[in-house]
């Protein structure tokens, strides 16, 4: 049985369209992925800037920096001192003073993206910055 030329062309064209659909699906996924990575990169940059600013504030004012500017002190049973701040752009910063000696302030500042669970752990943080500051005994640290 002999097939007409247009039927063969049609079949070939359908195969082309199917392969095209497949490639478009993959390409669109790549576009979405690129967009998401771009957004994530932007979030990390903003988070890093927030973390750097917090570090500079603590460098400038020590633990007094946490007594104003909207920082909320969290009470913990394990004796660590935790502070939390939600920025205007929705990012959340958390500072955990893990070690605290009479003359030094050791802590970690972590910044979380907008909408992140406020109880988020270190894994969910966009960036993490270690803090260390000499605190003369007389000034205490005030935590």
């Amino acid at each position: 049985m002999k097939k007409s030329g247009s039927a063969i062309f049609l079949m070939e064209f359908i195969v082309v369209i199917l392969s095209f659909s497949l490639s478009v699906t993959i390409t669109l996924q790549l576009f979405v992925s690129a967009y998401q990575k771009g957004e994530r990169s932007e979030e990390i940059s903003v988070a890093l800037l927030h973390a750097q600013n917090i570090a500079e504030q603590i460098k400038a004012f020590g633990s007094d920096a946490l007594t104003y500017g909207g920082w909320v002190k969290e009470h913990t049973a394990d004796g660590t001192r935790r502070f939390q701040l939600v920025f205007d752009d929705g990012f959340t910063a958390k500072i955990v003073f893990e070690k605290f000696s009479a003359s030094r302030l050791f802590g970690v500042v972590r910044v979380y993206p907008p909408g992140a669970d406020s109880g988020g752990g270190a894994d969910e943080a966009l960036c993490s910055l270690n803090l260390s500051r000499y605190v003369p005994k007389d000034t205490g640290g005030g935590l």
Partner: protein, 161 residues
């Protein structure tokens, strides 16, 4: 029989048109996504690079009179003072005519004074300000597109001005 052939041809033409349209759409979407990503990244990157530059100038000029906030030539400027090849030099960073600019002034060499419009353009900004709280300086910049960034720098040396 001729009618069937005509429908066949029409269908193929329709498929071809669909193929062409989808190809064009995929290219257009791709270009827009890529353009958007590159533009956003460039805008934010430029702004942050400029802020980091200013912040590092602060750190480098951590001496008593290393940096002051002054009003010069009708604009608020950050004035960084340093010695260049034994000569007193001032670098002014300020916002003028929609751009953050830098102007190097070497008073010992004479020449014309500070002309805001002649500063080198660092980055296009719509707003730029520097505020001070004790030794903590807050540098703020905003672009026309609405992107803004704020960077803080602590200087150990207290200054006047």
């Amino acid at each position: 029989m001729k009618k069937i052939h005509r429908i066949d041809a029409l269908f193929i033409l329709l498929l071809y048109a669909m193929f062409a349209l989808l190809s064009a759409l995929s290219v257009i979407i791709g270009v827009q996504v890529y353009k958007g990503l590159v533009e956003d990244s460039a805008n934010r990157g430029e702004l942050r690079t400029a802020l980091s530059y200013v912040a590092n100038r602060f750190r480098a000029a951590d001496t008593a009179s290393g940096v002051t906030l002054e009003r010069r030539g009708g604009v608020n400027a950050l004035v960084f003072r340093e010695q260049l090849a034994g000569r007193r030099a001032e670098t002014l960073i300020y916002c003028y005519d929609g751009a953050l600019r830098e102007y190097l002034l070497v008073p010992d060499l004479g020449g014309q004074g500070f002309v805001p419009a002649e500063g080198d353009e660092l980055v296009a900004v719509s707003d730029f300000s520097v505020t001070r709280d004790a030794g903590l300086y807050t540098i703020f910049a905003k672009t026309e597109s609405g992107a803004e960034a704020r960077q803080q720098v602590f200087r150990r040396t207290t200054v006047s001005g």
